[in-house]
């Protein structure tokens, strides 16, 4: 199946809509790309300005600096979070990436995929 197009590809060939949300606890930017064939990709960047008391118990996440030190835990508010989705005929996938501020290193990435189309198997009688 086709991979998610790169940002460069989307910037070149897709129509783009940008929405900014200045919310009490975070600043959120949602970029929606629509390709000519109708495929839609969405990327959301969230900058958490302060701890959200309502989700405090979910604020600590695992990170991997990939330097051999294993997994560590960081509060989400100390990271730059980007979420996105892929919605096409085959799947609906959402993903979240977290980077250290000021770097491009992804230290946390999770994804959830829902397969829409599965390979069916036909059975039919033969002809005498």
């Amino acid at each position: 199946m086709a991979d998610e197009p790169s940002i460069d590809y989307l910037e070149l060939f897709a129509s783009k809509a940008v929405q900014n949300f200045d919310e009490p606890l975070q600043f959120r930017t949602v970029v929606t790309y629509t390709l000519p064939d109708g495929r839609v990709y969405q990327r959301t960047t969230v900058r958490i300005e302060k701890l959200n008391p309502f989700v405090a118990d979910r604020g600590v996440i695992d990170i991997d600096l990939q330097d051999g030190t294993g997994f560590q835990q960081r509060h989400e508010s100390t990271l730059i979070k980007t979420v996105g989705s892929v919605d096409n005929a085959n799947e609906f996938t959402t993903w979240v990436e977290c980077r250290l501020p000021g770097t491009d290193q992804v230290v946390h990435r999770s994804a959830s995929t829902w397969l829409k189309a599965t390979p069916g198997m036909g059975a039919q009688t033969g002809i005498f």
């Binding site: 086709a2 695992d62 990939q66 085959n90 946390h108 990435r109 995929t113 397969l115 069916g120």
Partner: protein
């Protein structure tokens, strides 16, 4: 009444239950449910309809991931609707707290109890992913005749 040519729907279901043997040397001894696993494969691997059994060649590797993948939860027996037999795992496939740095795009479902060791069942592909200290979740489709993970129509 009129007669209608067809593959019997009950037979389709019984294929999923291992009730028929058209060959020789493939006698099922077990009467209990088999165990299935789900392994992830790299974008660079070659897993397709010709794959006959699980092999670690091309499989993902990384922190928190064990070769062979994870067990598939199977609490729902195959059933039929209309003329289609179908089956779906009864829980999502979740690879928890893993780092898989090399892009993967395929999951292979295979039978660990099959007479042919680790016999392949089905291959499913999706957009390529990497995971860093996170979870990869494959949510199962609705278990019905048009969405189930395995359908014999």
């Amino acid at each position: 009444m009129a007669n209608t040519q067809a593959i019997c729907t009950s037979f389709k279901q019984q294929l999923l239950l291992g009730s028929h043997n058209f060959g020789v040397g493939m006698i099922r001894a077990a009467t209990t449910v088999d165990s299935f696993k789900a392994a992830l494969f790299l974008v660079s691997a070659t897993i397709n309809a010709s794959t006959t059994a699980y092999s670690a060649t091309g499989e993902v590797s990384g922190t928190g991931y064990s070769a062979g993948g994870i067990a598939v939860t199977n609490a729902t027996v195959p059933t039929t609707s209309g003329t289609t037999a179908f089956w779906t795992p009864s829980a999502s496939l979740v690879y928890s707290t893993v780092t898989l740095s090399t892009a993967f795009d395929t999951v292979l479902l295979y039978n660990t109890n099959a007479t042919t060791a680790n016999a392949a069942v089905a291959v499913y592909t999706f957009g390529s992913q990497t995971i860093t200290a996170g979870n990869f979740t494959l949510t199962m489709p609705t278990n019905d005749a048009t969405h189930a993970l395995i359908q014999i129509a």
